[in-house]
Amino acid sequence: MTRRTRLHLALGAALLIASAAGTGLYLRSWLAPAADGGASLGGPFTLTRADGVTVTESTYRGKWLLIYFGYTYCPDACPTALNAIAEAMEKLGPAATNVQPLFITIDPARDTPAVVGEYVKAFDPRIVGLTGTEGQIAAVATEYQVYYKRRETEGGPYLMDHTSLIYVVDPAGKLVRFFGGSSSGERIAQHLLELMSQTS
């Protein structure tokens, strides 16, 4: 089975689940392109690193990317996913040099370059934290069909509902797989190694 077929099968499975659950609007729009055989999740972006340097998708061409969208006020889901990524990097051993994990904030109002940079360091210094203007974040979130929505709390800071998936982008810039945000790092590493061996 080719990777493309597998991805499409997986997307098909998601479509079934989504329809069954009756909550498929968001997923269907995501999956619509798959029906005509040209799923194209992911794509170009322009974002800012902690040191103020602007990066684009081409900055990381040639590397495998692990991309997670989150925000620094997130007390549970984001630390869980970032820990999984950090753990995957550990388990990858020497192969980790070919992998670049990216944390992209969906809360640019609070997550300045410095804040995001400081945040990711706590998990693994190899993770690069990225932020941007509201427009830049909206654009990259659309590319990856990441849903995010600000939600006010009583008297506290606002929170964000957000898609919690870990995306795998291959060295050519193609999104090839994604994992749930609470997958284990070991499993992510295993699949990455498998993907790497298929391409080399």
């Binding site: 997986a10 006020y73 549970d76 889901a77 630390p79 820990n83 706590a122 994992f179 997958s183 070991e186």
Partner: protein, 185 residues
């Protein structure tokens, strides 16, 4: 010598009585932990396990700590891969039940941390039960991404944390609606 012997016997006599009273008929909270917060983070989460050894249903109705401006009961809802955090008014702990607040599910959310939580630190937390009253707890701070108290590496081997790994179609783990841990109560 005689006195010491009597004292020793007296001490021995108290032991079985203590053992009887200890675990079975009480409401207890253990494995109380929080992740260290990354630089600049203003929020945190406390996880814990409640064992209701009493014969009556109870519920957690509130929490407070000097470490944060506010402590709220929260749960995470995984809606087709979109994580939504929602406040809970209370968390049920039925008679005889064990309820675990853990990553990806329910937690005590700390809002407005007075200072970052550092690995190895500890702080106090008061958990309030409807019937059991207030419990003064000590929260142990583990590393930032830990998945459990005794599992600093966080491999997702905690009970209930392996949901993703059990899903068929490994690319789609989250889309299958990973165990709505927070909804069990």
């Amino acid at each position: 010598m005689k006195h010491i012997l009597i004292l020793a016997l007296a001490l021995l006599a108290t032991l079985p009585a203590q053992a009887q009273n200890a675990p079975s008929s009480t409401l207890s909270v253990d494995q109380v932990w929080a992740r260290a917060t990354p630089g600049g983070a203003k929020t945190g989460a406390v996880y814990l396990t409640v064992v209701n050894g009493t014969a009556s249903d109870d519920k957690i109705v509130g929490a407070s700590t000097p470490a944060a401006r506010e402590a709220q009961l929260h749960t995470m809802i995984d809606d087709n891969g979109v994580m939504k955090m929602r406040e809970l008014k209370s968390i049920d702990v039925k008679a005889g039940a064990t309820v675990t607040l853990k990553p990806g599910g329910m937690h005590v959310m700390l809002l407005g941390l007075t200072k970052p939580l550092k690995p190895g630190d500890s702080f106090s937390l008061t958990l309030e039960f409807e019937k059991g009253g207030k419990k003064e707890l000590t929260v142990a701070v583990t590393k930032a991404g830990a998945m459990g108290m005794g599992n600093m590496g966080g491999t997702g081997n905690m009970p209930g944390m392996g949901n993703m790994d059990n899903m068929p179609g490994h690319d789609m783990g989250s889309m299958g609606g990973h165990g709505m841990g927070g909804k069990q109560n």
